[in-house]
C-alpha cells in the first residue's frame, strides 16, 4: 500500500503561469516532507522541504504548503519557466520511517 501518492502522472502549464503539484500521504507519524526535481539522465536534486510544525515554506519561486489534517502537501511554482520541466517527486518520513517517495509527476512548461 502506497504511503505517499502523487495522483497526477503529468501536468502541462504555460510559461509564466502557476504550476501546482500535489502529494498525499497516509501515515500520521510522518513529520518531514520534501520535494525533489529530476531531469532525464540525472539523479534527483533536493528542492524544498517542510516540517510538520509549519504549514508553508517558501524559497524563491517555490512554495510548499502542508495541510496536516488532510494529509496533503502541494508544491507551487510561480512563475513557471521552461527549465522547470522535469519530474517532481515528493517524499516524506519520520516516526522511524526512512523517506518514502511518491511515483512522481512529470511537469511540462510550454514556452
Amino acid at each position: 500500500d502506497q504511503q505517499v501518492k502523487q495522483n497526477s502522472p503529468s501536468l502541462s502549464v504555460q510559461e509564466g503561469r502557476i504550476s501546482i503539484l500535489n502529494c498525499d500521504y497516509t501515515n500520521s507519524m510522518f513529520d518531514y516532507f520534501l520535494w525533489y526535481k529530476k531531469y532525464p539522465a540525472e539523479g534527483p536534486t533536493f528542492l524544498i522541504s517542510i516540517s510538520s510544525i509549519k504549514d508553508k515554506n517558501e524559497d524563491g519561486r517555490f512554495t510548499v504548503f502542508l495541510n496536516k489534517s488532510a494529509k496533503h502537501l502541494s508544491l507551487h511554482i510561480v512563475p513557471s519557466q521552461p527549465g522547470d520541466s522535469a519530474v517532481y517527486f515528493c517524499g516524506s518520513g519520520g516516526g522511524g520511517f526512512k523517506t518514502i517517495f511518491g511515483a512522481g509527476t512529470r511537469l511540462f512548461v510550454k514556452a
Binding site: 518531514y32 520534501l34 539523479g43 534527483p44 517524499g91 518520513g93 519520520g94 526512512k98
Partner: protein
C-alpha cells in the same frame, strides 16, 4: 562541490550474471542508500547503510545484497540478474539516517538485463 558518483551510467547484463553497481561519495556521510526508479512506482528503497559494514534492508531487498567496506563506498550487488531487475538505480547519501535533511543523489545507473 559535493558529489555522489556512480561508476556506470549504462549497463547491459545477461540473465544470471552477477552484477556490481558502485557508488562513491565525498561528503563524509555515514548514511548511504540504494534506490531503484521505475515508471509509476517512483523511488523504492532497496538497502541502506548507516556505517561501515552496517546495513539494513529497505522495502525491496529481494535479489540484492550490498557491501560497505569503506565509509565513502557503497556497492549494490545483484546476485543473479533477472529481467525484472531492469531499472534505473540511484545511490544517495545523507547526513541523517532518515533523509530528513535531504539526500544527495548520484546520476544513476540504467541497467538492462537481457
Amino acid at each position: 562541490d559535493v558529489k555522489v558518483t556512480q561508476s556506470s551510467r549504462y549497463l547491459v547484463k545477461r540473465t544470471g550474471e552477477k552484477v556490481f553497481l558502485e557508488c562513491v561519495q565525498d561528503m563524509d556521510h555515514e548514511n548511504m542508500f540504494w534506490y531503484r526508479q521505475d515508471p509509476g512506482l517512483g523511488l523504492r528503497l532497496i538497502y541502506f547503510s548507516y556505517d561501515v559494514k552496517m546495513k539494513e534492508k529497505g522495502d525491496i531487498p529481494e535479489g540484492y545484497s550490498v557491501s560497505r567496506e569503506k565509509k565513502e563506498r557503497f556497492s549494490l550487488i545483484l546476485e543473479s540478474a533477472s529481467t525484472n531487475q531492469t531499472s534505473m538505480y540511484l545511490c544517495a547519501s545523507s547526513s541523517t539516517g532518515t533523509g530528513k535533511d535531504g539526500y544527495t543523489f548520484g546520476s544513476g545507473t540504467r541497467l538492462t538485463v537481457v
